[in-house]
């Protein structure tokens, strides 16, 4: 059932209270409310059309981060699957994932707000590396909170962050993964908000983060749409698919295609499927689908991919799911490893484990006819696989 009836679903600004439908909001301690109000005002001013901020943001993404990223038409993979696969190559950005788009924007905003320090949470370490990179670029102090489980499985990224001058604080509370890293970053922020910006890594958290991060990521979707049209003689793809942890690469992707006929598909980790197995609740400042027990205690997510190990999902995805504009599927660890190898062998591209989830779903959907033979599919390859090499090596052994 679609609550919005027949009205087309748009990915515009949320309501004044930060809602996408009934999801989102600002469920935060009083101590952090003024900071979120300040951030909202700063971002709104910065994001005005033709602002100096936008010009700087775009210039940095071009000259520093390497945008636009290509759209790769995958001939051999397409032959294998019987559907035409186009990959949006976020793996080719500086630091190796879409996370750079967000941190360049939030880093610039930190300067505008006159703050000198960033705190960030990270799962796979990609957002931590991106935050450390932006901090170095803009001359900011940077502390990254990372669950102890993740510091172990993403050791290389921990080292990269340190090389970039950031301090990495392992989090030993709770499930010791992404959820707990967010808790610790919020606890830091409550105590440091005067000098510190919380550089949240996905389309989650309190208003304005879900909106702001989606806007900072929409560049990838806007580019992909134009690139698809150029390649497809003005047509749009039939299916657009992206993996979903908090949901930032998917939100940026969907923003570019929400007003086309394309079917939008988000792919969560089977062990962290907030839309599939969650119920609406409040965590980390937002109302959204959440894995929780009968009394509202948050359940731990489980995935081979540290970046998708999160029991919630960005509120706009909950809205898109309820409105029926996007569907959310899952992929399990084993098919993800198989998909990763398939892409490596057919196209010479080693994806990160996170986008390998999107690919795993596509492989299954193409084989069982969920995606019809001959369809055109645009898939966001959100990051490269270097960070996961050791873990994949161990898993395949």
């Amino acid at each position: 059932m679609t609550p919005s009836g027949d009205a087309p679903v748009r990915m515009g600004e949320p309501s004044a209270d930060g809602r996408f439908g009934s999801f989102g909001g600002r469920f935060l301690p009083e101590s952090l409310v003024p900071a979120c109000q300040e951030l909202e005002a700063a971002f709104r001013a910065a994001w005005a059309p033709d602002s100096a901020f936008r010009t700087r943001y775009r210039a940095l993404l071009a000259d520093y981060a390497g945008r636009p990223t290509p759209l790769t038409d995958c001939e051999r993979l397409s032959e294998e699957l019987g559907v035409r696969v186009l990959l949006k190559r976020e793996d080719l950005t500086h630091t190796g994932s879409h996370k750079i788009n967000n941190v360049i924007g939030q880093g610039l905003l930190t300067l505008e707000m006159g703050k000198s320090r960033l705190v960030a949470e990270t799962g796979a370490g990609q957002h931590g590396v991106a935050s450390a990179t932006a901090a170095a670029l803009f001359g900011l102090e940077c502390v990254v909170y990372m669950g102890e489980v993740d510091t172990e499985r993403q050791e290389l990224n921990v080292f990269r962050m340190k090389l970039l001058g950031a301090e990495v604080r392992p989090v030993t509370s709770g499930s010791r993964t992404l959820k707990d890293a967010v808790n610790e970053a919020l606890r830091d922020w409550v105590a440091s908000v005067e000098t510190t910006h919380y550089c949240l890594g996905s389309v989650m958290g309190p208003h304005p983060y879900p909106w702001m991060v989606r806007e900072l990521q929409r560049i990838l979707g806007d580019e992909a749409r134009e690139q698809c049209r150029a390649l497809l003689g003005g047509a749009d793809p039939d299916v657009v698919v992206a993996c979903v942890g908090g949901g930032s690469n998917a939100a940026g992707t969907f923003a570019g295609f929400v007003d086309t006929q394309a079917r939008l598909v988000g792919v969560e980790a089977a062990g962290g499927s907030a839309i599939g197995r969650g119920i609406p609740g409040v965590l980390h400042g937002m109302r959204s689908y959440l894995l929780q027990d009968e009394w509202g205690q948050i359940l731990e997510a489980h995935s081979i991919s540290a970046g998708l190990d999160y029991p919630g999902i960005g509120p706009e995805h909950s809205y898109l799911a309820d409105a029926g504009r996007a569907t959310y599927e899952v992929a399990g660890d084993e098919e993800v490893l198989a998909a990763l190898q398939l892409l490596a062998r057919t196209e010479g591209i080693i994806p990160a484990l996170e986008p390998a989830h999107a690919l795993a779903w596509l492989v299954r959907a193409a084989r069982d006819g969920t995606v019809a033979a001959g369809s055109t599919v645009m898939l966001t390859l959100s990051g490269r696989g270097d960070k996961d090499a050791e873990q994949v090596m161990a898993a395949l052994r």
Partner: protein, 282 residues
């Protein structure tokens, strides 16, 4: 929409009215105003519900030692406003199987002569359902609620259910709360106004933050409701200093640290007694 919502626990009796007799518990604000009028500083100790087999005895001991009201934590898996001590207390209580009903049933079985105020996070309220949660509290003799992740802008669903159910919702004011917001917050807070001493999470501190007295003064000039200061009050001396410009104090982590370290209910009661004596000496 059907689906996920439908698997939530039912929302209790519909149409529950405040005019029904409130069977249990002591109303918060009248009791605190009366205590304040008697000339004493208010002491509000905190106890994590379900922490250890003897937590109800701890509660009774802190009340007997001179509490004017008592806060009972309904533990949440992800307490972002809490430092290491209350995180650990919450986690241990949850590992011991504590749930809102197990804690509230235990409270319903004892007579507490002072107001009991629940401290929890919003997801527990939302999961149970607003009306049902309010009724669960009152059935357990709990007549106040502190929900730190529910700021003014998000009170819309909870406040009407709490008001109708007879639960006084205590709001928190922070050192960074601007004056206009402070006034609205005082107007909409019930039971008392909770002044957060410092920018940070709960937990023991070696000294009282300078922001504490500034906020206490601002709150006292903004409202006639009882003003109780909390966060980081670890010693009787700090309690006296924090209460000097306010009506009283909350003491939480310092007590739960004792429980976590194995103190008996009597020993926790003695600690509360020391806070009481210091506040009475002034």
């Amino acid at each position: 929409m059907s689906g996920p919502e439908a698997s939530s626990p039912p929302d209790g009796r519909q149409g529950w009215q405040a005019s029904e007799p409130l069977a249990r518990g002591v109303a918060v604000e009248p009791a605190l105003r009366a205590a304040r009028s008697s000339g004493r500083k208010l002491l509000v100790p905190y106890v994590t519900g379900g922490l250890g087999a003897r937590w109800v005895e701890v509660l009774q001991a802190v009340v007997d030692a001179g509490a004017d009201a008592v806060e009972v934590g309904l533990p949440f898996s992800d307490p972002v406003m809490d430092g290491p001590t209350i995180q650990e207390a919450s986690l241990r209580a949850l590992e011991g199987g504590a749930t809102p009903p197990s804690i509230l049933d235990a409270l319903a079985a004892v007579e507490v002569p002072v107001p009991v105020v629940a401290m929890t996070y919003y997801n527990l309220v939302l999961r149970a359902g607003h009306r049902r949660f309010a009724k669960m509290l009152v059935d357990g003799g709990v007549r106040g609620a502190i929900v730190p992740d529910l700021p003014l802008e998000e009170l819309g669903d909870w406040s009407p259910a709490a008001d109708a159910g007879g639960v006084e919702t205590v709001l928190l004011a922070a050192p960074v709360t601007p004056d206009d917001r402070l006034a609205e917050l005082c107007a909409r807070s019930h039971g008392f106004v909770y002044g957060v001493n410092l920018m940070g999470v709960t937990g023991e501190r070696t000294s009282l933050a300078a922001s504490a007295q500034v906020l206490a003064k601002r709150l006292k000039s903004a409202t006639d409701k009882p003003v109780v200061m909390g966060f980081g009050i670890s010693t009787p001396e700090q309690a006296v200093a924090a209460a000097s410009h306010a009506d009283g104090v909350v003491v939480a982590s310092a007590l739960m640290r004792l429980v976590l370290d194995g103190a008996s209910p009597a020993q926790v009661g003695d600690a509360v007694g020391a806070f009481r004596a210091a506040l009475d000496r002034g």
